[in-house]
Symmetry: C2
């Protein structure tokens, strides 16, 4: 293709042909990519703003480096849609996050160009350092490149990675993509610091090491050196301030305009030529190129389908477990001034925006830092405040030791609102909330509620805050209640329907609704089942065990990994339990489809029970 022809995304041999394009052609290609991103995500939902911000960066990375020999590790993966498009997933891109389609995050088993699993924040530098170290041991002089958004820079693992990478003597390049926003407005000293660096126009640090290498590298050296030395402020800046990253052992290049492919390539080529740990600081605009997303990057961070011309969501948000929790917490905080609310960068996702507005002094967004969040709760609790940490189930995994050491050991009273508990659907394997019961129940003194509807959630939250002591987890699923039954009063213990059957169905949380429907299906097939819907699921109770022991067989359904599940605990004291749990990681897909596949739809529940009973009889 000539350097003047308009490239066609769909006719290129990607990512290899990228290197053949002229800069103007790259810009044309980026426009096509951006259009594809907007069109696709408007239908599939997904992480739009971050990916719109990294179109040029991704193109530049694939022009400068040779994937898959050079290993690109995307942090979280929110930013990696363009990477997917450029590495073999162009034609399947319309299936993004859909049932049977490609993942919304990076997965090595999806493409050899996805060097490492992404999903949980801040792991990219550590993973890339492992890869770069392996390369060094093998005598391979390729590069490992970690691409991190500033949101992930608040995570302790990012720092641990930097701290080890800086002194490592490997070919690791960390690209820090600064866009002033992570998921919500970024917080903390690091964010403020990066914002200061951002505003230093033309601060292209000239370390002597960089210069030495550039002098020896005539082809790429001269223009790069010119760019780097071009700034009239460079010398002054170098005198005034060395960056935090240099303090940690990195060569620092930046900040670079992340929407200028030429400047990006110069910076990345300089980084590549150094053959030592380099941090490349790139400034981008989140949502770049799509008005509504540029205007409200937070709203377009993770979104459902939307209408392209206006940016309006296809489905208007109604109440959800998250918003009900958030509003109830406000009610409680109005009369109890010792309640504090904590989030790790998920103010909107967890429904804490109401609390943040009404009680700004008692609201704390700690950034992506789940470990700190819990230990901070421990400090608050030691002063008799009541910390309420609202967090997604999957991210709470990172706080395991802190819950044990900084809360449980001192018998602190703290409430953990475990959002997105159970199957989450499209976000997939890295985000399923199927381990929280398993790991929380290994910590002495923990109590766990799993309400199935809004009124139970409110009651559990009230009890957890006002009546319970120790660590209390209230867990609830993503999305809305689907109530199939009416309760006179919202129980925080259990609801038991005794028809005098010798078969009992036990479950909790969202599946309580499915169990009601399942028992109706079974009734229509002349199989009468009693029903026990748990709300307080841990610690296990003698009362529950006694109820269960009356039955010939107990069918116990739970959206939980099998080891550590509630049914496993009851199975240790009752020998009539047939457990239905989850025995491995769960892929991404449509939530109802996944629940059905796992055997948790009302139909499948009924089917399993019928099959079991038939097998027993034969």
């Amino acid at each position: 293709m000539g350097s003047n022809n308009r490239p066609d995304l769909f006719k290129m041999n990607l990512p290899y042909d990228l290197k053949k394009l002229s800069l103007p052609q790259c810009d044309q290609l980026c426009k096509q990519i951006r259009k594809l991103l907007i069109t696709t995500v408007s239908k599939t939902g997904g992480h739009l703003s971050s990916s719109l911000g990294t179109v040029e960066l991704t193109v530049a990375v694939h022009r400068v480096f040779d994937s898959p020999q050079d290993k690109i590790v995307w942090d979280v993966g929110h930013q990696a849609y363009t990477h997917k498009i450029l590495t073999g997933r162009l034609n399947s891109f319309s299936t993004l996050r859909q049932e049977g389609g490609i993942s919304g995050f990076c997965r090595p088993d999806e493409s050899e160009h996805d060097a490492f699993v992404s999903g949980h924040s801040s792991n990219s530098v550590s993973a890339a350092l492992g890869i770069a170290t392996a390369m060094k041991l093998s005598g391979d002089d390729h590069h490992a490149i970690a691409i991190v958004g500033d949101g992930a820079s608040s995570g302790g693992l990012f720092y641990e990675g930097l701290n080890n990478a800086g002194k490592s003597n490997t070919n690791i390049i960390v690209i820090l993509n600064y866009n002033e926003m992570s998921i919500s407005k970024n917080v903390g000293g690091m964010a403020k610091y990066l914002s200061t660096l951002r505003t230093r126009e033309g601060y292209h640090k000239t370390k002597s090491a960089v210069e030495r290498v550039l002098d020896k590298t005539p082809v790429i050296g001269s223009p790069v050196k010119k760019v780097i030395k071009g700034s009239k402020d460079a010398f002054k800046n170098a005198l005034l301030h060395s960056t935090l990253f240099e303090d940690l052992g990195f060569a620092y290049i930046g900040p670079i305009d992340g929407h200028n492919i030429g400047e990006l390539e110069n910076g990345l080529n300089a980084a590549k030529a150094l053959n030592k740990p380099v941090l490349v600081h790139v400034n981008t605009v989140k949502g770049k190129g799509y008005g509504p997303a540029e205007k409200n990057p937070g709203e377009f961070h993770g979104i459902g389908s939307f209408e392209i011309t206006t940016g309006n969501p296809d489905v208007v948000a109604s109440d959800s477990f998250s918003s009900v929790m958030g509003k109830e917490l406000c009610d409680l905080a109005r009369t109890n001034e010792r309640i504090c609310a904590i989030t790790a960068a998920m103010k909107y996702g967890t429904g804490l925006q109401y609390f943040a507005k009404q009680f700004p002094d008692r609201f704390f967004d700690v950034g992506i830092a789940e470990e700190h969040a819990v230990t901070f709760c421990g400090g608050l609790a030691s002063m008799k405040y009541i910390p309420v940490f609202a967090v997604y189930s999957t991210f709470l995994q990172r706080s395991y030791d802190e819950i044990l050491h900084d809360l449980a050991l001192s018998r602190a009273h703290a409430v953990i609102c475990v959002d997105r508990a159970g199957i989450v659907g499209n976000d997939g394997e890295t985000h399923q909330g199927i381990f929280d019961i398993s790991f929380l129940s290994t910590i002495p003194g923990v109590r766990i509620y799993s309400p199935s509807n809004y009124s139970q959630l409110r009651a559990c939250l009230r009890k957890a805050i006002n009546d319970d002591d120790g660590i209390v987890a209230v867990r609830y699923p993503r999305g809305n209640e689907k109530n199939t039954f009416v309760e006179e009063t919202a129980s925080t213990t259990y609801s038991y329907t005794d028809h005098g059957s010798d078969i009992l169905i036990v479950t909790y949380g969202r599946l309580s609704n499915n169990a009601v429907t399942a028992s109706e299906i079974l009734a229509s097939h002349d199989i009468k089942c009693d029903l026990l819907r748990l709300v307080e699921i841990f610690p296990i109770s003698d009362e529950i065990a006694q109820i269960m022991s009356k039955y010939q067989v107990v069918f116990f359904f739970e959206e939980c990994y099998d080891y550590g599940s509630v049914s496993e605990k009851y199975s240790a004291v009752c020998d009539n339990i047939a457990p239905f749990t989850i025995d491995t990681f769960v892929r991404h897909g449509d939530c109802d489809t996944l629940l059905d596949e796992l055997g948790f739809s009302p139909e499948k529940m009924a089917e399993h029970i019928e099959e079991f009973l038939t097998d027993e009889q034969t």
Copy 2:
């Protein structure tokens, strides 16, 4: 007491009388404290070097601040012995770490002067921020003071804490005690950076904010200001470099000579006057005042009893599970160049010093950074290297999410050598290794071995590295093997002794030895027991379940928290198991005494079984 009299540690009203002392008296007192530290730890064992380094710092902190209204949070607690002496534990200090005595770490239930639990590294800033925030919400203008050694500064939680504290607008003071050594020689960019700061003699940063406050505070202001401005290099340094801590939002004071009480007090008073987040950088000498410890601070970090004049340990170290692992790993690595060894600041503790010496390129000490260690292993494993992470059971808790997300999800092959599994004894509640089986077994694809002697350990390690796939944990206790039986071949599965009894004892790891002795005791009482000693303990096996199901009753002993234990898992499939596990946190004390108290000595095992059988008969 007059300002010229020699103070008597044992006659003072502590910590309050400290404020009445002149500086020369303080120095005299410090000598007395140091002597007490050396004498006591020479008998009790403990963390000597760190505490010898912080004698003056502790005295200065208690002179400048008012504990317990001001809250002092010691990180890890290695450095806190002087604090214990000065806050009500002088007379009980000889019981340090002993059965029934005071803890080697800080415990709020031991003293109101221990503001927060210490034991696991790097949590102090986050906890102190919680406390400082609570103070601010209550209108309390006291200070929360986190005291952190540079070893803990490699932990991500420390960074998350700093990142949030720096912008917090609270009265938090972080005292960073730099002694160039954490447990072993410190590693990473941060350590190098701190070492650079250390060498800036007279770098007392004069921020305008400090000056403004000091100008308004005549009593303490003037001398402090003089000290701060005294350095001729101050202005130059201020121009050349702002510190990383200022980048994160802190006022920075230091470095201060940590053995000069006058200088310490000036710095701390300045920090106190600022009423904003301040980082005070203190330089100390680890082991200060005791020749052998100054010379070999690493050896005197955590030690057993020793002879004071020479510093020689009372018991010469023999082989241990740790050293056997370390040597075996060297044997394996000699013929397999893809094996890498990783430690988080525990090179000697985990027995990896042999590997480090023989294979320096494949050895990685990542500092106190267990999360990074695991994700780094994930990176290595993705390149087909075989990472072996040797780590204490209790510290592995911090890697839960990384094991799940960065190893298990991609089915990586990695070996985790879980040292100090089970009861560890004197280090106590924060350090007992009783949760690893519980949390590791909640992660899909994990295999766990628990060898009971050296030859089994060697066999398990070989199998884990050469034959198994996925995540393989090999766990073994602190200390030496106490073998009570001889095996023809070292099994990696189980050893089964079938005498035809209808009673079976099942256990694994160290308790296998106790079970052999217990069965002998029972035999002498005419109770014949069969014996099943497991080595591969997870996943559970049908073969094992079948053996167990033949018995009338199975007594299952394990040094493991009850939820998540192996017996719990088998109880879900066998209904004849009487489990003996651990149902809460375990205090510190003598290891054998604790095992006996928990029912795991051979005598108690036998007793429990006899009691159970008697109860059954009546």
